[in-house]
Amino acid sequence: MVLSFVLIQNRQGKTRLAKWYAPYNDEEKIKLKGEVHRLIAPRDQKYQSNFVEFRQNKIVYRRYAGLFFCVCVDANDNELAYLEAIHFFVEVLDSFFGNVCELDLVFNFYKVRWRCRTEMGRLAWEEEEKGLSDYHPALSPFSSCALHPEPSTPKSHISRITNNPTQVYAILDEVFLAGEIEETSKQVVLTRLEHLDKLE
């Protein structure tokens, strides 16, 4: 049971986060990103499963509005366990970067469409009107806010996050390590992250 990589990509195929657990060289990494995008993006959410064979492994993925969270696992790994591991990770990100939206709304995302943007450390959920699926990021009230972060107000979570573009990687290391699931209690992870966050 081992992850080969974790990829977070948007619908256009831009990779927002890549974490490699197997030793790939730079060329392979670029190739893998492209292949995964081409494999996952066209898949139908309603009628197709969250699993797809990929080379000799398989990809378990979950789409959160505009973002695909993909993990590459062994061909005989337990698919659903990884599917929920993805969700667990997303919940941790969401709680940590918090207050962008209410948790219960996130969990009811089948009722309300949610748009999620992760740009190195900033992960935010935002509501989207139904039918706005081809919605341009520049039109989003959120993205305009993100484009003008207010570094002078340290209380703003956005600035806190953008100041640490590497934070998502640190969070990832608290949830997955060496390609294995490390911790599955949200409380434990969050308490730890809060603690680390306060350190100088």
Partner: protein
């Protein structure tokens, strides 16, 4: 955007020394603002230039002689270094190449501030790969952080190794990582990270995990912290796959923890994930149990059965919440896999086969997918395919599912559930579906159809028809192995040759014919064309024209085959020789050197004055050697590359069985059915064997040498007699003659025994009392018996001791032994527990053959009658021996006590010599057998010698019994009162062991 770009890195750095790293924020905002890649690039280049400029400026100013270490120098604060590395990281993360600044990043690792160190480590894990030369420089910094008292630094260092740890790093640091894992002072965070780091290092280089670590690592599976237990279970899973014998203790651990979580509800509420208690650890434990053969211990089986039933019951309710549903199903499907693996739980098995029937019709695509997958597993193991066959139409329907993942699983299942009764409809459906199938799975489909056709062919025509139709339909997706195999089978089966030749000729004659068919045609007509030359439409000239017509449109390798069949025609059909010669002449001018060479040679061969040489050359091809089909290896090769042990492979039961108990398939004949027999070794053994496919026509055995070398390193069996703990004899010797008492005692633990023997059965209860001032955890017992005694003495464990024994309390374990035969060696028990460090001892249990005897009363007359009936050797054994050691002696009361302790009825007044002892007993062993045993012991107190004679109605008894008694008697009784001896060093350390950290 422009404003910030214009400001240099240094100036911004020095002006804004606030903790927000304003320059960085601005930089990131600018990049986000860049709508196009070109704009982003422009901005980054500007920033890179700034950074480079900064470095250069420092260099020119002579602040530092070495360009690379410019940032490391004192003029820049840690804050600036951090910001600088952060920018580089961000640029790197966006996918741009950052080829400098690595050393600066690495230097941050040795910072004292957590935030700086953290960035340094992060940069290191992102910039450097595991064979990067800079890693040599950081080994010492990492070691320093591993040994630091700050657990946060420990964790950072562990992250670094877990991300980029190489073999070299493993060799240098695995000892430290292991120490952090097992140290009683390590915090849960450190432990779980250390476990996974060790796993990473183990995967890089298995030798770094030493065999003697096993027991301690297994004990950590009981850690109260679920995160630690989860991580350690992952580690154990990898280790147990490679060394099942060494890690077999993990089986009971997983079984009992599963039960504690599921049935007893023993878990921290934090670990409830949408009402499912830590689904991930459940999945891992269920998987771990599949790596071992099913336990023979009824108690452990009960534990597992209870957990599995609970999982099945929980799954009856279908939660609406997506997460809960997924988590529950993750556990359920793993449980189903375990039930199939156990293969003995009939009640559970019947429950799951009805459920699987529902799953494959589910509206949820994920569930259909998993249902089909589980059913394929079932088909690989089940005794009968009937429960699966009743869903055949639904499964065939899944080939039309909207999701290719489901279609693939459907294909796997159809392939696995195929047998001689349903092969024709299934193959028919597959062929039908092949026409519209995705390109991605066509090649696999073709392989599977070819294998099934061959395996279940019951008549000649069907095999030939399907194979040729398959190639005609899916030509481009037919791998070479497929058409090679067709030729091999036709060549080896005489009854196929005429039919195959007729059919292939029809295909070749058609206007459109796939090149693969032309290849087969070329080969088959060249070999067997003469068999059909008399038939209508198959005359030599028609055969020739058919092949010649295809010559132009074919590749060079196909042309070569056709040229070869033409030279065979020269031999077979002299009447068309001129036309054949014409072709050779034409090709002797071709520029393809291979073809030209052939044409010239064939021309020369055909032009010889006599055809002796021609006949020799064109003699019938020899039959192909009987070998494993290349098709199977080709198929399994596709699934070979997984780091995990596959507990089963796609294919029917025979594909999963060992070669030994292989059932021969009823096929067309032996040759046709051979490919059903056996499976690539690599796959069945689960050792990731890589089947290698060679591509020559004759080399149809495509198998590699087989599974990778099993680890030959012999693992120590710590529960065996070879590892008995010092001091084991005292209690053991006492208990040889008594039913209950203390077996072992030290400063931390006391082991008491109570036993009762009835006939061939013995009930032994072990009592474990914790004398240590703290609770001991992960209390584990393992029984062992010398392999030579297996079957002579069997046992059933009726329960396990509590995993945690609090201070001053006691736990017990009941074991039922059955003497199936006379046995010689006693069972041993390994007891281990965590009291700070791991404590372990191995003791011999006082279960010996004489315990199964009952004293008997006999009159003098009866005794001597039977004594004489039994007679001498081999049913008699006699020994003469003296006292061992000084200050000890034989005396009457000692001997009487000992003989009675060995459960003999001492018959007084039977022997004329009053000093002699005579005894009788009945020994009970398995199957209700009883052996009469008689004893005569003649002491010589003057010389302190004993002559002991034992006779029994079965020859297996006397030798064993006399050994036991001699050992015990020879010790004699002390002639001196007990003297007080000060405690030895070992006793001291035992007493204080629980407070000392070792």
């Amino acid at each position: 955007m422009a404003t910030s770009a214009a400001t240099s890195f240094l100036s911004r750095g020095s002006s804004g020394n606030n903790s927000n790293m304003r320059g960085l924020v601005q930089f990131i905002a600018d990049l986000r603002n860049a709508r196009a890649r070109e704009l982003e690039e422009k901005r980054i280049n500007k920033e890179l230039a700034n950074i480079r400029y900064t470095r250069k400026a420092h260099f020119l100013m002579g602040l530092q002689g070495c360009l690379l270490t410019v940032i490391a120098d004192g003029s820049l604060s840690g804050y600036h270094k951090k910001k600088y590395v952060c920018k580089l990281l961000y640029i790197y993360i966006l996918g741009w190449n950052v080829d400098f600044g690595h050393l600066e990043a690495v230097n941050l690792i040795s910072a004292n501030k957590y935030s700086e160190k953290q960035i340094g480590y992060l940069a290191m894990t992102l910039f450097l790969h595991e064979s990067h030369e800079l890693l040599h420089l950081v080994v010492n910094s990492i070691r320093k952080d591993l040994t630091d008292h700050n657990e946060l630094f420990n964790c950072l260092a562990l992250h670094a190794i877990a991300n980029v740890g190489s073999r070299e790093m493993g060799e240098a640091l695995s000892g430290e990582v292991h120490r952090l894992l097992i140290s009683p002072t390590s915090k849960p965070f450190v432990k779980k990270k250390a476990a996974l780091t060790l796993l990473r290092l183990y995967r890089k280089h298995p030798d770094i995990v030493q065999p003697q670590w096993a027991e301690r690592i297994i004990a950590l599976m009981d850690d109260v912290d679920m995160g630690v237990a989860l991580s350690v279970t992952s580690l154990v899973m990898a280790l147990a796959q490679d060394n099942p014998e060494q890690y077999k203790g993990s089986y009971v651990k997983a079984a009992s923890r599963m039960k504690r979580i599921l049935v007893d509800g023993e878990f921290a509420p934090d670990y409830l994930y949408y009402k499912v208690p830590c689904p991930w650890i459940q999945v891992k434990m269920l998987r771990l149990l599949q790596y071992f053969p099913p336990s023979e211990d009824t108690h452990v089986r009960d534990l597992i059965r209870e957990s599995l039933q609970k999982i099945l019951n929980l799954a009856l309710e279908m939660p609406k919440n997506v997460q809960q549903n997924n988590a529950q199903n993750a556990v359920l499907f793993e449980a189903i896999n375990l039930i199939i693996h156990l293969d003995t739980e009939q009640a559970l098995m019947s429950q799951i086969s009805t459920r699987l029937g529902k799953f494959i019709q589910s509206r949820e695509t994920n569930v259909r997918y998993l249902g089909l997958e589980a059913m394929t597993h079932l088909a690989a193991r089940a005794e009968t395919l009937d429960p699966i066959k009743q869903h055949q139409s639904i499964i065939i329907g899944s080939l039309k599912d909207r999701d290719i993942s489901v279609r693939r699983k459907g294909l796997d299942l159809l392939y696995s559930m195929c047998d001689s009764t349903n092969a024709q409809p299934i193959v028919g459906e597959l062929l039908h579906y092949l026409q519209n199938a995705d390109f991605a799975i066509r090649e696999e489909m073709v392989l599977k159809i070819a294998i099934l056709t061959e395996k279940y062919a019951t008549d000649i025509q069907w095999y030939v028809d399907i194979s040729l139709r398959l190639i005609a339909m899916a030509g481009d997706h037919v791998s070479d192995e497929v058409w090679h195999r067709v030729i091999q089978i036709v060549t080896n089966n005489e009854q196929l040759q005429v039919y195959a030749a007729q059919n292939i000729l029809q295909y070749v004659k058609a206007d459109h014919c796939h090149e693969t068919l032309v290849k087969i045609g070329g080969y088959l007509l060249g070999e067997f064309g003469h068999l059909i030359a008399e038939d209508k439409g198959c005359s030599p000239i028609e055969q020739f024209l058919a092949l010649q017509g295809k010559l132009q449109g074919c590749s060079s390798s196909t042309r070569a085959i056709i040229l070869s069949s033409f030279i065979k025609f020269v031999n077979l059909f002299p009447e068309i020789k001129p036309r054949l010669m014409y072709v050779f002449q034409a090709y002797s001018h071709t520029l393809d050197s291979e073809l030209q060479q052939r044409a010239c040679e064939y021309l020369a061969l055909a032009s010889l004055p006599t055809d002796d040489l021609l006949r020799t050359v064109c003699d019938e091809m020899p039959p192909f050697p009987e070998r494993q089909s290349a098709l199977l290896s080709r198929l399994h090769q596709k699934h070979a590359n997984t780091s995990d042990k596959r507990t089963w492979i796609v294919g029917g039961k025979d594909a999963n069985a060992n070669e030994k108990d292989m059932v021969k398939n009823p096929g067309l004949n032996r040759t046709l059915s051979t490919n059903g027999n056996g499976v690539p070794n690599g796959a069945t053994n689960g050792t990731n064997g890589h089947a290698k496919v060679a591509n020559d026509l004759a080399g149809l055995d495509m198998m590699d040498a087989g599974p990778s070398e099993p680890k030959t390193l012999k693992q120590p069996n710590l529960a065996s007699t070879a590892h008995l703990s010092p001091g084991w004899e005292i209690g053991y010797n006492k208990l040889l003659l008594k039913g209950e008492g203390i077996l072992y005692e030290d400063g931390q633990i006391q082991v008491g025994v109570r036993s009762e023997y009835r006939g061939q059965m013995a009930c032994v209860i072990l009592y474990f009392s914790n004398k240590a001032p703290v609770a001991v955890s992960s209390f584990t017992t393992t029984l062992d018996l010398d392999a030579s005694e297996k079957g002579n003495l069997t046992w059933e464990v009726k329960g396990l001791p509590e995993s945690t024994i609090s201070q001053g309390s006691q736990s017990q374990q009941m074991i039922m032994f059955t003497a199936q035969n006379v046995f010689d060696k006693s069972p041993t028990i390994r007891i281990s527990y965590l009291a700070g460090a791991l404590q372990a001892l191995t003791l011999k249990l006082p279960v010996t053959i004489h315990k199964f005897m009952d004293a008997a009363e006999l009159t003098a007359e009866d005794f001597f009658k039977r004594w004489n009936q039994i007679g001498g050797a081999p049913r008699e054994e006699q020994r003469v021996f003296g006292i061992k050691g000084s200050n000890r002696e034989f005396n009457d009361s000692f001997i009487r006590k000992t003989v009675q302790g060995f459960r003999w009825g001492v018959l007084d007044g039977v022997d004329k010599n009053q000093k002699n002892f005579v005894g009788a007993s009945v020994l009970h062993i398995g199957g209700g057998r009883k052996f009469g045993c008689l004893l005569r012991l003649e002491p010589n107190y003057a010389k302190q010698m004993i002559r002991l004679t034992i006779r029994a109605t079965d020859e297996s008894v006397p030798a064993t019994m006399i050994n036991l008694m001699e050992q015990r008697l020879a010790v004699g009784q002390s002639t001196q009162p007990e003297v007080f001896q000060p405690p030895t060093m070992r006793e001291m350390s035992n007493v204080f062991g629980n407070v000392l950290v070792t």
